[in-house]
Structure formats: structure tokens, C-alpha cells
């Protein structure tokens, strides 16, 4: 292996530095980026199949209490619904985070809106999880 010592690039501001000389940094936003892509790909199948089953294969009026009871006898459907709930809520929440950062500029407005949106999402995640786990 040959190693060549590159002359150190002169100190310049980030904007004038050529792209390749900038070190890629892995931070929370990188993981957020991966999460959106992976959860999005999984949701494409889970959400579309779920819609297909409850609106096309069965009419929506057939998805009554008896339907849910029969379906949730199988723990795999509970798992399916829970994964859909979790990924759907957090994919949506992360997407809304970008939207809120883009459009809400005043700090107090941003904090208030985020508190409401995060609070609602986490509450409904807990509520939905309890529903799936405790239904008999």
C-alpha cells in the first residue's frame, strides 16, 4: 500500500472548500435520513396492504367489532398493526418536524407547536399500543 502525504488544504470557509475535501459527518440528522427511507419503504407495503384489506378486500362497514376480534386472535396481526402504528406515527412526526422547522420561525411559536404535536403523537402512540396489547 502506498501512502502519499497530501499537502494540507489551506484553511478556508466551508463554502469555498471543494466538496470532496469536506469530511462527511454522521450526526442525528443522518440517522433521521436513514429512518425516513427505511420506515418509508416498509410503510409502503404495510400501509397499502392494510388499506387494501380494510377498504377493497372487505367493505369498510364489515370491519366491525367481530372483524377486529377475529383478526386480533392472531398475535401476528397485532404485531403487524403495532409496527404500522409505530412506524406511521414516527415517520409522520419526523416529517412534520422538517415542516415545522421550515415554516414556523418565531422560537416561541415553534416550541409551542412542537410541544403540541410531539405530545399528541406520543400520547396516541401509548394509547394505540395499550389498545393493541389489552384487547380481548
Amino acid at each position: 500500500m502506498t501512502t502519499t502525504i497530501e499537502p494540507r488544504a489551506p484553511r478556508t470557509s466551508v463554502t469555498t472548500q471543494p466538496r470532496l475535501q469536506r469530511r462527511p459527518r454522521v450526526n442525528t440528522e443522518t440517522w433521521s435520513w436513514y429512518f425516513m427511507r427505511i420506515s418509508g419503504l416498509v410503510l409502503l407495503f404495510l400501509a397499502l396492504l392494510h388499506f387494501f384489506m380494510t377498504h377493497i378486500l372487505h367493505d369498510v362497514t364489515e370491519t366491525n367489532l367481530a372483524f377486529v376480534t377475529a383478526r386480533w386472535q392472531n398475535p401476528m396481526w397485532r404485531l403487524y398493526d403495532w409496527v404500522l402504528l409505530a412506524l406511521g406515527l414516527f415517520h409522520g412526526l419526523n416529517g412534520l418536524r422538517f415542516v415545522m422547522d421550515d415554516y414556523i420561525r418565531a422560537p416561541w411559536k415553534r416550541i409551542t407547536t412542537k410541544a403540541v404535536v410531539y405530545g399528541t403523537t406520543f400520547t396516541l402512540f401509548a394509547y394505540g399500543t395499550i389498545t393493541i396489547l389489552t384487547f380481548r
Binding site: 409502503l44 377493497i56 367493505d59 362497514t61 415542516v99 421550515d102
Partner: protein, 123 residues
């Protein structure tokens, strides 16, 4: 709102539509968690609410949900494909038309199935 402006034209519309459809699907999900949780809180009310979903206005709402969901899903797939296969970017315009075509097709076929029982009764 300079942060959310792309280079305009179709890419900009795809971007805006992706955000709006995502937001709408998210709002529906919040509502859906509450309505399904009625199976525990009050099973009788759960059945009554689900009868309400058979109403023509809510059926139209479901067709709208389908359109938003399919657009967001396939437009998302389009975005991800550029991340992993940058050369696909050359065909971005055609791919957007493909997304719109699939959305239209799914909405028309799905919409027919969803609205059918209201107008012609259940098979």
C-alpha cells in the same frame, strides 16, 4: 420560506404535494388511532362509528385518503430511488408522470370499489 423552494416547476409541485399528502395521512392516522381504540373503551360506539364510515361523504373521504396515500408512497419511492441510484435522476420528469399515473389509476379503481356499495348496494 426560502428553505422550501426548489428550482420551481414540477419538482416544486411534487415537493409541496408530498408534504401536504403526508400531513393529511398523518392527521387521518391520529383520528384512526382514536376510532380503533373504541374497541376497548366502548365496543358499541366502535360499531356505530364504523357504520358511519359507510356514509357516502366518508366514503369520498376514504377515496381521498387512498389518493394521498398512493401519491405519498410512490413519490417517496421516487425520491429514495434517486438517493440510491443517482442516474435515475435523468428520468425524474418521466418518473413523476409515472407516480401521477399510478395515483390516478389506484384512485379510479379503488374509488370505484369503495363507492360501489353505496350506489348499488353490497354484492
Amino acid at each position: 420560506m426560502s428553505s422550501s423552494v426548489y428550482r420551481g416547476r414540477h419538482g416544486q409541485w411534487a415537493f409541496v404535494t408530498h408534504r401536504i399528502t403526508g400531513f393529511l395521512v398523518f392527521l387521518f392516522l391520529l383520528l384512526h388511532v382514536v376510532d380503533v381504540s373504541l374497541v376497548n373503551a366502548n365496543p358499541r360506539v366502535y360499531d356505530e362509528v364504523h357504520d358511519l364510515y359507510g356514509n357516502v361523504f366518508l366514503r369520498l373521504f376514504e377515496v381521498g385518503l387512498l389518493a394521498a396515500l398512493v401519491f405519498h408512497a410512490f413519490n417517496g419511492l421516487r425520491i429514495v430511488s434517486y438517493d440510491f441510484f443517482p442516474r435515475a435522476m435523468k428520468h425524474e420528469r418521466t418518473m413523476l408522470w409515472g407516480v401521477l399515473f399510478l395515483t390516478g389509476l389506484a384512485t379510479v379503481i379503488g374509488g370505484w370499489v369503495i363507492l360501489h356499495p353505496f350506489f348499488f348496494g353490497k354484492a
